[in-house]
């Protein structure tokens, strides 16, 4: 039996090691502590709202978030009225109208977040050929997830190490695979003035925007973990009862 357990553990270990090794690919990423981790983890609404402020004032000038709708902002603690006001601040294209023409109107709750560029080509043209990726799923779509995103956003160095050949128009970043990234550093002390008065340090802003990005990638997280706890407790009871019943039924088998 012990043999079996050892082999099973080896299997899991090998798989995990393989996955881990694959996941890294680039430089080692420092693990951060996030409010949504753990069995009961939840999002910090304050961080999400501050993160939205950073996304909408900084990131949104280049990065789209196509899978998010204005209505989703109600899930990060804004009231319906607040979100309606936020949405109304964006002009989106609608139509065609009765004359067959497209027109613009203020965005509504049911509209997706307005994208900065009409298409990939327009985005590349405005960014020296680099394509700022959509951020809806970015927290799940990169090895290391939120830790990587945080390391990237806070990993810029003014001057690359001696001997590092930095290409024209690129920036040195410790976390980015290959260390050359087309996106310049975005977070500086006081880049935003937080509505809730939180001091806007680079670390604070990094945590907040990554929280928001993780919410965007996993909006179901809180419901998932909450349901999981209930289901698991139920299964513990049921399985315990089934085990007891099994012992009882098998008691006379020799």
């Amino acid at each position: 039996m012990r043999k079996v357990i050892i082999s099973a553990l080896t299997a899991v270990g090998l798989t995990a090691a393989a996955t881990g090794a694959l996941a890294s690919g680039g430089p080692a990423i420092e693990k951060q502590s996030w409010s949504w981790q753990g069995v009961f983890g939840t999002y910090d609404r304050g961080a999400l709202q501050r993160g939205w402020q950073i996304y909408s004032t900084i990131c949104a000038s280049c990065h789209s978030m196509d899978l998010l709708y204005y209505r989703n902002l109600m899930e990060i603690g804004f009231t319906e009225e607040q979100v309606k006001t936020i949405a109304a601040g964006y002009e989106v294209t609608d139509g065609p109208n009765d004359n067959g023409e497209m027109f613009t109107r203020p965005a509504r709750l049911s509209d997706p977040l307005k994208a900065p560029f009409a298409n990939e080509q327009a985005a590349r043209a405005a960014n020296n050929g680099a394509y700022p990726p959509d951020l809806s799923l970015i927290a799940k779509a990169r090895p290391g997830g939120p830790d990587y995103a945080y390391a990237l956003l806070t990993g810029y160095k003014e001057t690359p190490p001696a001997g590092f050949a930095l290409m024209e128009g690129m920036y040195y970043n410790e976390a980015f695979p290959g260390h050359q990234i087309a996106m310049p550093a975005q977070l500086y002390e006081g880049s935003v003035t937080y509505a809730d008065g939180t001091p806007a340090t680079i670390e604070q802003m990094g945590k907040d925007i990554v929280s928001f990005l993780n919410f965007a990638a996993q909006p179901e997280l809180e419901a998932r973990k909450a349901l999981g706890v209930k289901v698991m407790l139920f299964l513990l009871v049921l399985t315990g009862m089934m085990y007891a019943l099994k012992r009882k039924i098998w008691a006379d088998v020799h």
Binding site: R108, M242, A244, D252, H254
Partner: protein
């Protein structure tokens, strides 16, 4: 010993029975609860529920004209009624109506009739929106599927449909724009 193995009986029988019933009950409840996510996944999703209301500009609709707009995937009839039509709708006795309802209760402004254009019988779209359409015996709408006749207030007058054409929730934003939903 071995023979006893084929028969599970003994002193622990009552306790075992209790455990059996309790486990069966818990397991059944759990299975039933586990089915709910599957069932609920077929209900309208968040994006469907969030689908915005429809705004309609009434200005271009002349008296005696109708337009059909889409709201939640269904046709909504908007009719700019004539004086005669309004009068006709308001002079009917309740006793003549299978589903009695005052015309005043079906409109916000007498000249504008807004209702969901789906026959309450089995869901066909009644005729009567276009000038050339048959409008039925009561000069409102006529459902060609099974012959339901609606009057100028969209109330059922004759045929198999049980109720009047329903009026959706709507509001006048300005004198000439309405928002449905």
């Amino acid at each position: 010993m071995a023979e006893a193995a084929t028969h599970a009986a003994g002193q622990g029988e009552t306790r075992r029975d209790f455990l059996l019933y309790a486990t069966t009950a818990v397991g059944t409840v759990g299975t039933a609860l586990a089915l709910w996510p599957f069932v609920h996944s077929m209900n309208p999703a968040a994006d469907v529920l969030a689908l915005s209301s429809t705004e309609v500009d009434l200005a271009p609709i002349a008296e005696g004209q109708s337009v059909t707009v889409t709201w939640r995937g269904k046709p909504v009839f908007i009719r700019h009624r004539t004086k005669e039509e309004i009068e006709k709708a308001r002079s009917v006795q309740d006793s003549a109506l299978p589903d009695p309802q005052k015309d005043e209760d079906r409109v916000k402004k007498p000249e504008w009739l807004v209702m969901i254009g789906v026959c309450t019988h089995l869901g066909c779209v009644p005729l009567g929106q276009k000038a050339s359409d048959p409008k039925g015996e009561f000069e409102g709408w006529f459902c060609p599927c099974h012959g339901s006749h609606y009057d100028t207030s969209g109330r059922i007058r004759k045929g198999p449909a049980p109720t009047n054409l329903p009026v959706p929730e709507y509001a006048f934003l300005t004198d000439t724009t309405i928002k449905i939903g």
